[in-house]
């Protein structure tokens, strides 16, 4: 397909949070129940403005907490509504109990998570500890690198969650402040195009369907609980197929194609960084610098973390000599970390003898600059040369003296 057939968007400069709100306006969901929390506040604030101005048909519920926000979305979703919300950090943590209800009840709710660290010490800036903490809650999880991806993910999220083979809630992450509060270039599609892409939500069951009364959320004993959980694995596994399908369909429309992972200069790379989210750009700059010095460096960006695209990661990393998994979360007690545990598992189970090290970086909003990623590549070269990966758990740009 030639590029001229792609739908032209309107180029705008918007803050990441505004981008989410704008996508939500175009999606025009039936219900939004949300509680404001820094750095997500602008999403709720902006969207509630759209509601007040009559630009959407949405029933907006101003709730008293994030637990109530998610509970309201669950109720709305069970009633057959397309329900959206947004949160971050501590707000996501407060939702924890009901996150599992949303996935267990098969409520395809879409939620923007403006990634924020978890206190204490008190911190409102970005890292991915919030979503990593919710990684096993039965939600699909995708992340954005930049403003355009924030927009594109927000739109695709609805289609992914509601796909009849998935029917699970989805959270799409964007870095707090770094994306949420900075202006970025973003192409906003015409309203009608978004409306058509997301389509009308057709729930298979609805609490309000009085002709087919159903009980939602009934007690489930030892006799069927296990079988219902097995169904959730099925929905989650199906997402590995559906996410790229939706991403390709979106690409045919807009020229921006999406999959589970995105390689950068990886084909011939000896050393690679695997990373999620907004710092990917700095890692790509480091690749260009290293390549200028003759080092075959590459990046594998993970767009989707749940379900974990193990085969895609293994295929992309196959042939690399050493890999650094960048971990922007503080999840304690494992030998590695949420992301690198998955990567190590994917490689080990496919007998790929690649040296893997974990670098924790950027906690609590600390910037990571290309020079620091260059240092990682230099470390990887040494590992590739000596075959010694220890220490396998490292801290990037930590004052360690």
């Amino acid at each position: 397909m030639s590029e001229t057939t792609y739908v032209k968007g309107k180029v705008r400069a918007l803050e990441g949070d505004m981008v989410v709100a704008e996508a939500m306006r175009q999606i025009n969901p039936d219900v939004v129940a949300a509680y404001p929390i820094t750095p997500q506040t602008e999403i709720v604030q902006t969207f509630s403005g759209f509601v007040a101005d009559g630009l959407v048909d949405t029933e907006f519920i101003a709730v008293e907490s994030e637990h109530a926000a998610m509970s309201s979305c669950i109720g709305a979703s069970c009633a057959g509504a397309r329900a959206l919300t947004a949160t971050c950090g501590a707000g996501l943590a407060l939702m924890w109990e009901v996150l599992w209800c949303a996935s267990g009840l098969r409520c395809p709710i879409s939620m923007a998570v403006v990634n924020r660290s978890l206190s204490a010490p008190l911190n409102i800036l970005t890292d991915q500890t919030d979503m990593m903490g919710a990684r096993d809650a039965g939600w699909v999880q995708i992340f954005a690198e930049n403003h355009q991806e924030v927009y594109d993910n927000a739109i695709q999220a609805v289609r992914i969650a509601e796909h009849p083979d998935i029917v699970l809630p989805i959270m799409h992450g964007l870095a707090g402040f770094v994306l949420g509060h900075t202006l970025g270039r973003v192409e906003i599609l015409p309203d009608e195009v978004v409306k058509q892409f997301v389509g009308q939500y057709k729930p298979s069951h609805s609490l309000l369907d009085i002709d087919h009364p159903a009980t939602f959320g009934a007690y489930d004993h030892w006799d069927y609980f296990f079988e219902h959980k097995r169904q959730q694995w099925e929905g989650m596994n199906n997402a590995l197929k559906v996410i790229p399908e939706v991403g390709q369909e979106f690409g045919r429309l807009t020229g921006r194609y999406y999959g589970l992972v995105e390689p950068y200069m990886l084909d011939d790379a000896d050393v690679a960084i695997l990373i999620i989210g907004s710092a990917t750009g700095a890692a790509k700059v480091a690749v260009d610098q290293m390549r200028a010095d003759g080092v075959k460096a590459g990046v594998l960006k993970l767009r989707c973390f749940r379900p974990f695209p193990a085969q895609a990661v293994a295929d992309a990393l196959k042939g690399r000599k050493a890999v650094a998994v960048m971990e922007r979360s503080s999840c304690f007690g494992g030998e590695t970390s949420p992301v690198s545990a998955e990567v190590c598992s994917a490689l080990y189970l496919r007998s790929l003898p690649i040296k893997v090290v974990t670098y924790v970086y950027g906690l609590g909003g600390r910037d990571t600059v290309p020079d620091e990623f260059c240092q990682v590549y230099r470390d990887l070269l040494k590992i590739a040369e000596t075959g010694v990966a220890e220490p396998i758990f490292r801290y990037l740009a930590l004052r360690d003296y």
């Binding site: 267990g104 009840l105 409520c107 939602f216 489930d220 006799d223 219902h228 097995r230 099925e234």
Partner: protein, 98 residues
């Protein structure tokens, strides 16, 4: 029993009124005993019973559905005439066997 492929998603129960099929009487460790002489048929117990186990016909309490009464004791607590007494379930069973 059905496989995970044969059941509705999310534990949805598509059959209305199906809680009758779930015999919560299995849980009971205390059994309510109704003294018909004391009972004024005010139906306070019927209102309060969380399991709909107070059997009423023509506005009169005619018995307690022991398949569903889970022995919570709310009826005994709420009865203004103290017409319901809770007794130990094992003893009640033993008594019935005599």
């Amino acid at each position: 029993m059905k496989s995970w492929k044969e059941i509705t998603w999310g534990g949805l129960v598509m059959e209305p009124g199906s809680s009758v099929a779930y015999e919560t009487g299995d849980w009971r460790s205390s059994r309510p005993i109704l003294d018909e002489e004391k009972c004024s048929n005010c139906l306070v117990c019927w209102v309060f019973c969380p399991d709909g186990a107070i059997q009423v016909e023509n506005s009169k309490v005619v018995g307690i559905d022991l398949k569903h009464c889970k022995g919570c004791g709310i009826c005994a607590e709420e009865c203004p005439r103290k017409a319901i007494t809770m007794v130990d379930e094992c003893e009640a069973k033993a008594e019935a066997l005599k």
